[in-house]
C-alpha cells in the first residue's frame, strides 16, 4: 500500500448520519448532563442569597419568577432533568444486562414519558410562584 485516503472532516460528519435509538440516547444523555451541571452553578448562586437573610432570598426568587423567560426556562430544566433521570434508569438496566434487546423501546418510552410530564407541568410553571 503506497498511499491511503484519509476522509478527514467529511467522514467525521458522515458519522452522524448513522444515528439509531442508542446513539440518540447517548447524545441526549450527554447534553442533558452538561445542562444540569451548568444549572447547578446558578442553583447555588440563587440559594446562597439566603445567606444574607430571608427577605433577600424571597425578593430574589420573586424577581426571577416575575420574568416569563425564567418560567419558560424552568419548563426546559424539568424536561432536561426528567429525561436525564429516566434515561439514567435505562442505562442502569443496560449496565445490569437487563432487557438489552428492548433498549430502543425503553429509550422511546423515556422520551414519551418526559414529554408527558413536561406538558403536564407547563400550567404550573407558567403560572409562577406567589409568595
Amino acid at each position: 500500500m503506497s498511499q491511503s485516503y484519509n476522509r478527514g472532516l467529511i467522514e467525521d460528519f458522515s458519522r452522524w448520519r448513522e444515528f439509531s435509538a442508542g446513539m440518540w440516547a447517548w447524545i441526549f444523555h450527554k447534553f442533558t448532563g452538561w445542562v444540569l451541571v451548568g444549572y447547578l452553578f446558578t442553583h447555588i448562586a440563587v440559594l446562597s442569597t439566603a445567606l444574607s437573610g430571608a427577605t433577600e432570598y424571597t425578593t430574589t426568587i420573586q424577581g426571577l419568577e416575575s420574568l416569563l423567560i425564567v418560567r419558560i426556562l424552568e419548563v426546559g430544566l424539568l424536561a432536561v432533568a426528567v429525561f436525564h433521570i429516566l434515561n439514567g434508569l435505562r442505562l442502569l438496566f443496560v449496565d445490569l444486562g437487563v432487557g438489552l434487546e428492548a433498549q430502543d423501546k425503553s429509550f422511546y418510552a423515556s422520551l414519551i414519558l418526559t414529554g408527558v410530564i413536561v406538558v403536564a407541568s407547563v400550567p404550573t410553571f407558567l403560572a409562577g410562584v406567589t409568595i
Binding site: M1, S2, S4, R15, S20, A21, G22, M23, E101, Q103
Partner: protein, 293 residues
C-alpha cells in the same frame, strides 16, 4: 472472411499487397461498425437509466495511482435488477459491464468470509447479505467509515486486525486432560453461552460503526472484546487464563470505553449481541476486582 475485422488489421500490417481501394472500404466499414457500436452503447445506457427494473448505484471511487481519481468522487451505475440481487451482485455486474477497475473485496458471497463489509445508504452492511430491494434509490455505496481508503471500496484493515490480535483470540489453557487422546469437552450450557460470540467473521462493520472507536484509536473495539468474551467465558480455559484475559480487558482502553450506544449491535451482520457481551465483561471485571466473598 472479409467480415472478420481484427484479422484484416493483422493482414494489413503484415503485407503491403492489399489494394488501397480495399483499404479505404475496410476503413469505412470499421468506422461504420464503430459508430453503430457507440450508438448501441448510448442506447443501452439510456435504456438502463430509464428502465423500471434497474437500480441506480452511487459508488465511491478513489485511486491514489491514477491522477484523475486522486480526488474522490461518486460514480453512477445503472444495474439491471434480478430477483434476489444483492449489493455485491450489483457491484460485480457494474464491474463486469461498465468499469473493470471498480475495486472491492469479496470472496465467499455467503456472509462467512467477512470481506465485503460496506457502508451502504448510511449504515454498515455486508454486501452479499444486503438485498437491493430493501434499499431506497439511489443506493450509496461507500467504503467503511473510520478506516483509511486504499482504493475505491477497499479500506485498510490493519488496525482492526491489530486490535483483534491484542486480545489473544485463540484457545489457551493450563489444564490439559490426562490422557493423550482425551478430548477437551465443553458442557452444553457453556457452549450455549459462547455460541453467539463464536459467529464473528471479522468483517469490521462493528468497529466502523463505533463512535468511541472512531475517537479513540487504542480502544479495542466491539469485535475484539467479543472475541475475548468467547474465550474468557469458556470454562475449559481455567481460572488463571480468565484472570489474564480480564486483565487485558479492564485496561483503560478496554471494556470501560464502551458507552452502550448499541451501534455495533445494530450493524452486526451475524446478529451477535455485542453490547450485551461487553456489558457482561464489565460486570465480570468488577466482580473480579471486588471479591468480597
Amino acid at each position: 472472411m472479409s467480415t472478420q475485422v481484427p484479422e484484416q488489421v493483422e493482414d494489413e500490417s503484415a503485407s503491403e499487397t492489399v489494394s488501397t481501394g480495399k483499404q479505404k472500404r475496410d476503413a469505412k466499414k470499421r468506422e461504420r461498425a464503430e459508430r453503430v457500436q457507440e450508438q448501441r452503447e448510448v442506447e443501452a445506457a439510456e435504456k438502463a437509466r430509464t428502465a423500471d427494473d434497474t437500480y441506480h448505484l452511487k459508488v465511491f471511487r478513489y485511486d491514489p495511482e491514477v491522477p484523475e481519481k486522486q480526488e474522490p468522487r461518486f460514480d453512477d451505475f445503472y444495474v439491471p435488477y434480478k430477483q434476489g440481487m444483492t449489493i455485491l451482485d450489483a457491484l460485480m455486474w457494474a464491474r463486469d459491464h461498465y468499469d473493470s477497475s471498480l475495486t472491492f473485496r469479496h470472496s465467499c458471497r455467503q456472509a462467512i468470509c467477512g470481506s465485503d463489509a460496506l457502508f451502504v445508504n448510511g449504515s454498515q452492511r455486508l454486501g452479499c447479505k444486503t438485498q437491493l430491494s430493501d434499499l431506497s434509490e439511489p443506493v450509496r455505496v461507500e467504503p467503511l467509515p473510520h478506516a483509511d481508503v486504499v482504493k475505491d471500496l477497499v479500506v485498510d484493515m490493519e488496525h482492526f486486525y491489530d486490535q483483534m490480535e491484542a486480545v489473544e483470540p485463540y484457545f489457551q489453557t493450563n489444564s490439559l486432560p490426562d490422557g493423550e487422546l482425551e478430548e477437551q469437552r465443553q458442557t452444553r450450557e457453556n457452549r450455549e453461552k459462547v455460541k453467539m460470540s463464536t459467529r464473528c467473521i471479522w468483517c469490521s462493520a462493528c468497529m466502523s460503526s463505533c463512535n468511541i472507536a472512531a475517537g479513540d484509536n487504542e480502544y479495542l473495539g466491539p469485535a475484539a472484546i467479543n472475541k475475548a468474551y468467547r474465550f474468557a467465558m469458556d470454562e475449559r480455559e481455567g481460572e488463571d487464563m480468565k484472570q489474564r484475559r480480564l486483565e487485558i480487558l479492564e485496561q483503560e482502553h478496554g471494556v470501560w470505553r464502551c458507552q452502550t450506544q448499541f451501534s455495533c449491535t445494530e450493524v452486526c451482520p451475524k446478529d451477535i449481541p455485542l453490547t450485551e457481551h461487553i456489558q457482561e465483561l464489565k460486570r465480570e471485571a468488577i466482580k473480579n476486582n471486588l471479591k468480597f466473598w
